[in-house]
């Protein structure tokens, strides 16, 4: 019951999800097309269950930080900040999700989204530019031929992507385009094929119950 049922659920659901993409045939004995079963049942169920799982992640976050606050752990004040912003955004967003006609609430939420959450997000993202600069310094030391190839192609791409590159030499954008379209595309394609084969094998092992790590049961 504890092991077999989850494995059976994984197998049956995976089989339906897989077959719904390759066949239009009926489920034996039921007279319902397999893609219909997926569209009508599995897909909406997935939306609901994954929404519950998203809430679970937030519940975990709340539990961890509430514990920090209640036990006055070091730097607990930051947990208060986190919980406060979580409650404000969570409550407000839930309200506008459930009351989409309340334009005043939607406008208010768009303000705190566009002027607080969005700048924080882009600010964090732009921070990476500083770290990339220091990473570039370490990466751009040509130690051997292969590192030199990496360095050369990165410099050519950056020169081609910036307006100053085209001013220095008009061919830089052309070289950049060629590097992206031909060698880069080839490399991406080969890596994608390799990753897809690995992903296929991992999925097949999971579907057949050989791989059980996701259930916390352990290996075969």
């Amino acid at each position: 019951m504890r092991k077999e049922v989850p494995l059976l659920i994984t197998f049956v659901v995976a089989l339906i999800a897989m077959l719904s993409q390759v066949t239009t045939g009926n489920v034996p004995g039921l007279g319902v097309a397999i893609p219909d079963v997926f569209e009508r049942y599995i897909s909406p169920w997935m939306t609901v269950v994954s929404a519950f799982s998203l809430c679970l992640a937030s519940v975990n976050l709340i539990v961890v930080h509430s514990r920090n606050v209640s036990r006055k752990q070091p730097e607990w004040i930051y947990s208060v900040v986190l919980l406060g912003s979580l409650v404000i955004y969570g409550t407000w967003c839930t309200y506008i999700q459930l009351n989409p006609d309340d334009t005043a609430a939607s406008f208010g939420y768009s303000l705190i989204y566009n002027y607080i959450l969005s700048p924080l997000m882009t600010g964090q993202w732009a921070c990476l530019a500083f770290y990339v600069a220091s990473a570039s310094y370490r990466a751009f030391r040509a130690r051997n031929l292969e590192a030199t190839v990496l360095l050369g192609s990165a410099i050519l791409v950056m020169l081609g992507a910036t307006p100053v590159g085209g001013v220095i030499w008009s061919k830089f954008p052309v070289i950049q385009r060629w590097l992206i379209d031909i060698p880069n595309m080839t490399g991406q394609r080969a890596l994608l094929i390799g990753a897809a084969v690995g992903s296929f094998v991992a999925c097949l092992r999971t579907m057949l119950g050989i791989e059980r790590g996701h259930l916390g049961i352990g290996g075969s």
């Binding site: 049922v5 989850p6 994984t10 339906i16 993409q21 390759v22 599995i42 169920w45 939306t47 609901v48 269950v49 519950f52 799982s53 998203l54 809430c55 679970l56 900040v81 912003s85 955004y89 967003c93 839930t94 506008i96 459930l98 303000l111 566009n114 607080i116 700048p119 924080l120 882009t122 600010g123 964090q124 993202w125 732009a126 921070c127 990339v132 570039s136 990466a139 590192a147 190839v149 990496l150 192609s153 990165a154 050519l156 791409v157 950056m158 910036t162 590097l179 031909i182 060698p183 080839t186 490399g187 080969a190 890596l191 094929i193 990753a195 992903s199 296929f200 999925c203 999971t206 259930l215």
Partner: protein, 207 residues
Amino acid sequence: MQISTNIWQWIAVICIFGMWSLPLYKDNPFYRVCQNVFVGSCAGHAIGIAIGNIVNYGFQPLVAQSKIDLLIPIILGIMLYTRFFPGIAWLSRWPVAFLVGVGVGQTIYSSLMSQVINQSIAAMTKFPQPTVGATINGLVSLIGLLSILTYFLFTVPQSPFVRGVSKVGRWMMMVTFGVGFGNVVSGRLSVLLGELLKIFGDWLGMI
């Protein structure tokens, strides 16, 4: 120069400076506050969307349209929370099995079809091409693809030929990683420039 009088612009710029204070200065309380507000607001936003989905796609159709089958995902969803109760924690495996099952079933087909088969078809080039340039490009693509795949072949004896082809593959990968790195740097810098534009344009009014 005309500094913005919009309070929201000021808040946005304070948030940006808060995030930048880490790389520009060092770990500090201002950054930690911004970081925790960021995590909390992202989680809060996710909760709002998730509850909206549960109500709009779960409870509402169940009640308004009498879709009894929706009881199943709701029960499965609630079962996820049994992990907080050690005695019945094993029940949370069922919804996890369902989620993984859907993902696995869809990936099995899509990984084969869109990534292996379609990419292999796209890699097949007719020779010779109408122009010399196109023929060279086709050759680079074909040789590059085969050599990179050879690099990942660990089950064949590593003869001098295979090693040589693998080396070409490694060089091709270095070009790919270089292009990727160049693109990442350009992308990050453009985000940074966008932020600077907000600061000097929208906030300080200098641009």
